[in-house]
Symmetry: C2
Subunit: 350 residues, 2 copies
């Protein structure tokens, strides 16, 4: 044992603190952590022992505190605030920007707020990141707009109408990507951007408005299943646990050769009408009715996962669509049952 190892008391303690590996004692911030995806990411973040504090900021616009109520963890702190005006007395080692509505009826109703949450949110969150810290952003396959090629590789620049009815979301995501990649180029930034393809699963809002959850809540409510247009438009539906695992692998590994945005999704493309039929079948044969096509609804969507396979070897979407829909249906059923039970309890008390 040499002299160095015989140091005792405050000096040794100080040295220990100073020499802690980078991985230890991480303060982490997630914006939009009460949302569908954000809350699942909170679950994953809290599995990491080096995360000593996880601050979740959410204005509960589309997020819901019900999604985080199971998090009985002293490291977890929820702050109800817009991301644009969120203040903190310290900086963060990792920042996850999940603050955005993702469903057309929500972002089309409040386009300025959608643009602000993404872009002004990102500008604010960059200020809260420690120098050398990591910034992760969930972008979307919607940056590709109408797909002129299929599957869509990350190099497909997109075919988006920047004056159209879906533009607040699509262009907010594109401009936020631009902000982040250009910030990396000019100032340096450990940046992770995923482009997610149609994620579904538990913790989707009942009134979210996207296909799978919509069909399920309609069917469970005894209503007809409504399909926009003829339903031949297809999507690549990714079950949330698969997508969250892909994100965790991409966001938490320290070194990568690949620096661009990463497609994450399920390669299996299924038409909207097939989903409607499957949900109808599972719920006792609810009828399907067709509505006017949604404006500028992409005809199809399928991720090119060539880069994902190189960057995240071994990762793929494992939950088959049929299984994922059943699990989601079960979750919505439990929620309805719980609500009904609570209602009955209230009624009995009254």
């Amino acid at each position: 044992m040499n002299a160095r190892n015989r140091q005792n008391g405050p000096l040794r303690l100080l040295k220990e603190i100073m020499s802690k590996p980078d991985g230890a004692n991480k303060r982490v911030l997630i914006a939009g952590g009460c949302g569908f995806l954000g809350s699942h990411l909170c679950d994953e973040l809290l599995k990491r022992p080096e995360v000593t504090k996880l601050v979740c900021v959410d204005n509960l616009w589309t997020g819901d505190v019900a999604n985080i109520k199971h998090l009985n963890d002293q490291r977890f702190h929820f702050v109800e605030s817009d991301v644009e005006t969120f203040r903190s007395d310290h900086l963060f080692d990792e920042v996850y920007h999940f603050a955005s509505p993702a469903s057309p009826p929500w972002y089309m109703a409040e386009p300025a707020r959608t643009i602000s949450a993404n872009i002004v949110g990102a500008l604010r969150l960059l200020e809260l990141l420690k120098p050398g810290g990591r910034f992760a952003y969930t972008s979307t396959s919607e940056v590709y707009g109408e797909p002129l090629v299929t599957p869509q590789p990350e190099s497909f620049r997109g075919w988006v109408d920047c004056t159209g009815p879906r533009s607040s979301y699509d262009e907010a995501k594109r401009a936020t990507e631009a902000l982040l990649f250009e910030t990396r180029r000019t100032r340096g930034l450990d940046l992770r951007v995923t482009r997610l393809f149609n994620v579904y699963g538990p913790r989707t809002r009942e009134d979210d408005g996207r296909a799978i959850s919509n069909f399920i809540t309609q069917a469970l409510g005894g209503k007809p299943i409504t399909v926009f247009g003829d339903g031949t438009q297809s999507r690549s539906w990714g079950y949330v646990s698969d997508l969250v695992e892909g994100m965790a692998r991409f966001f938490w590994r320290d070194t990568f050769d690949y620096l661009g945005p990463l497609n994450l999704g399920n390669e299996r493309e299924i038409s909207v009408i097939d989903i409607a039929r499957y949900v109808s079948e599972l719920t006792g044969g609810q009828p399907i009715v067709h509505l006017e096509p949604a404006p500028q609804d992409p005809t199809n969507r399928c991720p090119d996962l060539t880069i994902a396979r190189q960057v995240l070897p071994g990762w793929s979407c494992e939950v088959p669509f049929e299984e994922g829909v059943r699990r989601t249906l079960e979750w919505f059923r439990e929620g309805s049952a719980a609500q009904q039970a609570a209602g009955e309890t209230r009624a009995a008390r009254a």
Copy 2:
């Protein structure tokens, strides 16, 4: 004469004020009014007698007070401020959003600031517009990115790399268009958006960095003219007075059938090397040297003016390129001469 017309005194005055046509007594705000284009628009705005107040807000990032020093007009008020934080004790009847750098070396050096000026600037300016007021925004042909078709109609959705080195400008413009068109859809807005194609002329900064002014200042400084790549990339160069006239016609007319973004530019496409040669010829044969191609420099750029001809009958770019370059050269020469004279005066005084 009936009883109504015999009213006198304060009541009549009040009635007169209340019944003033909408066109009278306009408070106008221009953001970026000290810039190249913005200052020319200030000149035009002050020609309108119904404009009773013109507030110009500019942070002088790329703008220059020299561009407005000739404006001896009591209606004109300059406020040095970022557009994002500009405050006013009243709202405006018309708002013109010209606040953005437009030259690659400027926006590539400060991408976050560029995105903020456009998008956060637009969010702020929308708050300063009277209900029912008019909002005008100068967008750009850069929303088209690499042109997959030529000429580019407004319906060409663009081929822009939202992670590339020009993305802060291109995507800021696209997202601001999205914000404005979606604000019109959801809240109503008298909106005018122009997509300008490569404007040049007097009041360009000496250090602006774009081709024509760059070549002229290099040649006048006795330096070689530097061309990025082989110079075969072409642009449609519009002389500033032509473009400003097009904007004035589009911005100031009260009714239009056309509600989309409007291409404004010169249809005559000229290669960068041809411009370099012409400037060299005009300035005594300065040599031309070639530099590495600029990253993601569009190969060509040409406006489809089909809609402009319908919406603005009689308008077109009248100043031939050769004449416009001569005028711009003359303006830069006068500036140099004035600077030199001022320098000699200072030297003589010292």
